[in-house]
């Protein structure tokens, strides 16, 4: 009661009736001016595209045809997708890509954050170096790694030959069996710093007193981590993992530039596949149907994302 802030008011307010809402909206009309620009931009760039994508997914657009001459085909695009073999291959690739990239990036990033938590000489520089891959453009990263993986002059192949572990440089990204893992290594290279930054920030909020108390209670380093640090970071971890998963699910640049989805679709994931369908083969309808399916999957993920975030909100409110 000592402070009547906006939050206190919000908490005290009970569920209002509908007419109440209109009255309140009118009372707060000035407040909307602050969010209006943000909402307007979002509406143009999000709401309209979503509507348009859903509409287009029910139409066929043969190559060479103008978009306005599209032909209504009902759910044909959807059945075509779900019965095609490529769909299942690409979905499998996407799952592997997303799961492996997310999990390994998170583990490496978290471990790096922990290892960098204790102060030592050169910590700042080391941390800065580890972050760089996240900052540079994925296009640059793709070319750097494409050169590293090069089947004739790549440095990894050369090292393997030099060490006698291979007779000739392996084809990392030109072979169906190794292309996806190779690309995942590149993706992790770019993504783990994000997890590291998030977890570093999270670690700074772990109360020192709690760790000291655990030490006094006789907990060893591992027990302190498992019983104090880790539970405290559950929320940050959830948000980080979700953001990583979404970013990976939505990856495009690395597979597109490094392999274009090949060889024989072995590195195609959903997004590159959709892009190729739309802009490569002009099959806008099918691409849109893919997008709608993707949209549904992402909404499901988004539900958990919002729940994780609003969990934070609630904790914040009661603090």
């Amino acid at each position: 009661m000592t402070i009547v802030s906006g939050k206190a008011e919000a908490r005290r307010r009970l569920q209002p009736a509908t007419s109440d809402v209109l009255r309140k909206m009118w009372e707060h009309r000035a407040d909307y001016a602050y969010v209006l620009p943000a909402i307007a931009v979002m509406l143009i760039v999000i709401a309209y595209p979503i509507y348009y994508t859903i509409e287009l997914s029910f139409f066929n657009t043969p190559p060479g045809l103008q978009l306005r001459d599209k032909i209504f085909v009902g759910f044909n695009n959807y059945t075509a997708i779900l019965t095609s073999g490529v769909f299942w291959q690409v979905t499998f690739n996407t799952l592997i890509w997303t799961a492996a990239s997310t999990f390994i990036s998170f583990v490496l990033g978290f471990a790096a954050a922990l290892a960098l938590h204790r102060d030592f000489i050169g910590r700042g520089i080391l941390r800065a170096i580890l972050i760089i891959p996240w900052v540079i453009s994925a296009v640059a990263a793709s070319y750097i790694w494409k050169w590293i993986y090069h089947s004739d002059f790549g440095i990894i192949g050369a090292v393997l030959v030099e060490l006698g572990w291979a007779t000739r440089p392996p084809n990392f990204i030109d072979s169906v069996s190794t292309v996806l893992p190779s690309l995942i290594v590149v993706n992790i290279w770019r993504e783990f710093p994000f997890a590291m930054i998030m977890m570093t920030a999270g670690l700074q909020t772990v109360p020192e007193q709690l760790l000291r108390a655990a030490k006094v209670d006789g907990a060893n380093a591992w027990q302190r981590f498992w019983h104090v640090t880790f539970p405290h970071l559950r929320n940050v971890s959830t948000v980080t993992i979700l953001l990583l998963a979404v970013a990976n699910f939505n990856s495009f640049i690395i597979p597109w530039i490094m392999t274009g989805g090949g060889p024989s679709n072995a590195s195609h994931i959903w997004i590159t596949h959709i892009y190729e369908l739309a802009f490569g083969r002009q099959r806008w309808g099918v691409a849109s149907a893919y997008s709608v399916l993707l949209f549904i999957i992402l909404m499901t993920l988004g539900y958990f994302y919002v729940r994780a975030l609003s969990g934070n909100e609630r904790k914040d409110g009661s603090a």
Binding site: M25, A115, I132, I144, I148
Partner: protein
């Protein structure tokens, strides 16, 4: 405290070993991560100072026999066509990224402030709607946005990119800044208003300076995002003189498939502005995350 831990370790030598095991494990891990992170970048730099011929050797020259800055000179020379293109792409990227950054801050600051301070109906819904934008891949919006941009005559303009890039940066910017405003006591503004400031003055004179780290972090994020964006630029722009760096470099490479030193030099120069910017301002970024987003 110290005596306690000493007696414990003397009683149980195994534990001491294990703690050291953790520390050494951590160091070994950091060395591994350093190699994983840095070696590709070092190889990029080493390649970029080789001649085209020297780069294409097997086994490779681990260290360039005759280091040369020819690739850089070529890219930065306004006299030849490669240099002209590269400098133009660089300039385009700078324009687009700067415009995006300024607009992001202008749009995100009031929105984040409102989400933090006001209790208008629909606040939570709108807040999460804004955050949800992060969930969707660029590709979903590509076709309709392309058509939309064509309809409003923005195709092949930088305006189409700025407008689109705004929406990438905004969700995180608003989220970060909201965390900042949540942590600024509302009494500071009240005090300012009683001291004679209008609501707007209280915001500009008192709240804005306090949220400067958040605003800087937001700006970095927007700039880097815009600087590195590829897919929209690739789709929306077709004229050579409009291209931004990521697309421009890709085009350059598809025409000069074997010029790896040139490509590495271009990749390096494309990375320099964002890396420098980030390294200079990274403490704001981590602070913004700690104070803003993560603390909730």
């Amino acid at each position: 405290m110290s005596t306690v831990s000493e007696t414990i370790s003397r009683g149980q030598p195994a534990r001491r070993l294990r703690i050291d095991g953790w520390r050494w494990g951590g160091r070994a891990f950091l060395v591994f991560m350093l190699l994983y992170t840095a070696l590709p970048m070092i190889w990029m730099l080493l390649t970029s100072i080789k001649s085209g011929f020297a780069a294409m050797q097997f086994p490779p020259q681990w260290w360039p026999d005759q280091p040369t800055l020819a690739s850089y000179q070529k890219l930065l020379d306004p006299q030849n066509s490669v240099g002209q293109d590269f400098l133009r792409f660089f300039w385009n990227s700078l324009i687009v990224s700067t415009a995006t950054t300024i607009l992001s801050v202008i749009v995100a600051v009031p929105a984040a402030y409102a989400f933090s301070r006001f209790t208008f109906p629909g606040r939570n819904f709108l807040f999460f709607a804004v955050l949800l934008r992060n969930m969707f891949p660029a590709v979903i919006f590509l076709v309709p946005l392309f058509i939309l941009m064509r309809a409003i005559g923005l195709v092949n303009t930088h305006g189409s990119l700025v407008l689109t890039y705004l929406t990438f940066g905004l969700p995180l910017a608003i989220w970060l800044l909201k965390g900042f405003y949540d942590n600024i006591p509302v009494q500071l503004e009240q005090a300012a208003r009683i001291d004679g400031a209008t609501r707007f003055q209280a915001f500009i004179l008192i709240v804005m300076p306090l949220s400067a780290p958040g605003i800087i972090a937001t700006a970095i994020y927007s700039f880097i995002g815009a600087w590195n964006e590829y897919i929209y630029a690739y789709t929306f722009l077709s004229k050579n003189e409009q291209l931004t760096l990521p697309v421009g470099i890709q085009r350059f490479f598809s025409e000069n498939t074997t010029d790896f030193p040139g490509l590495m030099a271009a990749s390096f120069m494309m990375s320099v502005p964002v890396v420098v910017l980030f390294l200079l301002l990274q403490r704001y970024f981590v602070r913004a995350l700690t104070e803003g987003a993560v603390k909730h």
